[in-house]
């Protein structure tokens, strides 16, 4: 790659807290793939799910402030974010702002009017489309041979297709292909786009226990060693709440739940500090060590 790709980067609030390891591994992977991330100066919350359940102009104003800040940045080709919830809000806002009547209503709420001219993408989409799977393969430093993964995309990264404009809305494959490119083995996973229970973990934990429980059951049934995700909320429901799920459903899952950037980073030679495996609640240590042993035995 001769030209360096340059993006306005929107980390999202959870990237500073519950999904720190997603943010650090994203930044490290993008660096390794020659993608320059320029953080949007003084970015604010996109409104997430709560704002759009209250009012769509409020939601688009909260997201729109960030689109406006990104527009003022020089030489960036798109706004990219690792979080599908942020992605949805930023993308829905940018689509709705194309309607002049709606844009006028939103701009009444903002200090500075937003025009919304930049494309909005997920980090996954930028890696898959702008860098490409074929460009990732030659950079692999450590093959993830033998690692069986259930690829879980979450409900909103690809839906509705008219808005999200990326991959297939029933059977997305971008993460499967990236994991395959670094030597891991994606297993069939029919619940790729089913909902995990979203943000109901606090107010209605029973919902998350049911829906995320089904995802863990399906991953185990199909022989996965671990799940790989692209969403901070999905990851949190499956990983942090796995004990709650187990005790509610009388199951005994001990399934590590990775961010795809952690595994991509591991393959590309990113260090543990940025990968943040120690921040996962269900420890992947044993699994990763067993891969190492298997590789050494083969080499020996």
């Amino acid at each position: 790659m001769s030209t360096r790709l340059r993006y306005a980067y929107y980390p999202g609030c959870s990237g500073q807290g519950t999904s720190k390891e997603y943010d650090t591994s994203t930044r490290a992977v993008c660096e390794a793939l020659n993608m320059e991330l320029v953080e949007i100066p003084d970015w604010s919350c996109c409104g997430s799910s709560p704002a759009h359940t209250v009012d769509h102009r409020l939601s688009s104003a909260l997201a729109g402030r960030n689109l406006g800040l990104a527009e003022m940045m020089e030489g960036v080709s798109a706004v990219i974010t690792p979080c599908p919830s942020c992605l949805t809000n930023l993308k829905v806002a940018s689509v709705r702002l194309r309607k002049p009547d709606f844009a006028a209503e939103v701009n009444k709420l903002l200090d500075k009017p937003v025009r919304s001219t930049l494309p909005v993408k997920s980090v996954l989409q930028a890696i898959y489309e702008d860098v490409g799977v074929d460009a990732v393969r030659p950079k692999v430093f450590k093959w993830l041979k033998g690692l069986k993964l259930a690829p879980y995309y979450g409900c909103i990264m690809n839906r509705p297709p008219e808005v999200m404009e990326f991959d297939d809305h029933e059977n997305p494959v971008a993460m499967d292909e990236l994991m395959d490119a670094v030597g891991a083995q994606p297993v069939p996973f029919p619940l790729k786009v089913e909902c995990c229970g979203a943000s109901y973990g606090v107010a209605r934990r029973d919902i998350v226990q049911n829906l995320s429980g089904k995802l863990l059951d399906m991953a185990a049934l199909n022989g996965a060693d671990a799940m790989v995700t692209a969403c901070p909320l999905c990851q949190m429901n499956l990983d942090l709440r796995q004990d709650q799920i187990n005790s509610a459903n009388k199951t005994t899952h001990n399934m590590p739940v990775f961010y795809f950037t952690q595994l991509l980073g591991l393959a590309l030679g990113v260090g543990e500090k940025d990968l943040g495996f120690s921040k996962l609640c269900v420890s992947p240590r044993k699994l990763l060590d067993s891969l190492e042993e298997r590789a050494q035995r083969k080499a020996g």
Partner: protein
């Protein structure tokens, strides 16, 4: 079986308002049930989503604005994606929730409180502050045991910041909320 008297309870103005706010033509729904077939939340709904659409066609305002389903929809977009008539069903659910809020309904009080706590946190800090919003939710609902079992898992990981990561200029975000309220919203 519930019997409703359409002559007595059909609210035509309500149908027109939902159509205007959501931009969807509710009469286009022919009750195929594809939305309900794919909806992961039917197991907690009091009214399945295709019946929400049918009640909407029948102008049943009171039933819809006081039901649980509109608060429990996670906007996962399954219904919208799979509707053969291209109705943005998730948008209709959002619109009903907006109306319920404006009318002071809170059938799922916990869900409403979580949303309020989240947005208050954003208004104050410019960004969502996880511990702060959880404390605010507990205070609003009195559910003191909420996720206490998760604290020992999270704290050693250094994932929960004890202080909010505020933006440099939180007033800019607070002004968005102020202007929104000045337009008569709560």
């Amino acid at each position: 079986m519930n019997v409703i008297s359409l002559t007595a309870t059909r609210d035509q103005d309500f149908i027109a308002r939902v159509e205007k706010e959501s931009g969807q033509k509710v009469s286009q729904c022919y009750q195929c049930g594809n939305c309900t077939a794919g909806c992961p939340y039917t197991f907690v709904y009091d009214i399945p989503v295709h019946q929400v659409m049918r009640l909407l066609q029948a102008g049943q305002k009171q039933t819809l604005l006081t039901c649980r389903s509109i608060w429990l929809c996670a906007t996962c977009q399954s219904c919208t994606t799979r509707c053969p008539n291209n109705i943005d069903v998730a948008h209709v659910m959002d619109t009903l929730r907006h109306m319920a809020r404006r009318e002071g309904q809170d059938t799922e009080y916990g869900v409403k409180s979580f949303v309020d706590s989240f947005l208050e946190s954003v208004e104050r800090n410019g960004r969502a502050f996880e511990i702060g919003l959880l404390v605010s939710f507990i205070v609003k609902t009195g559910r003191f045991w909420t996720d206490v079992d998760l604290a020992p898992k999270m704290l050693p990981k250094g994932k929960l910041s004890p202080m909010p990561h505020r933006v440099k200029n939180p007033e800019a975000i607070a002004r968005i909320f102020e202007r929104f309220r000045q337009e008569g919203h709560q």
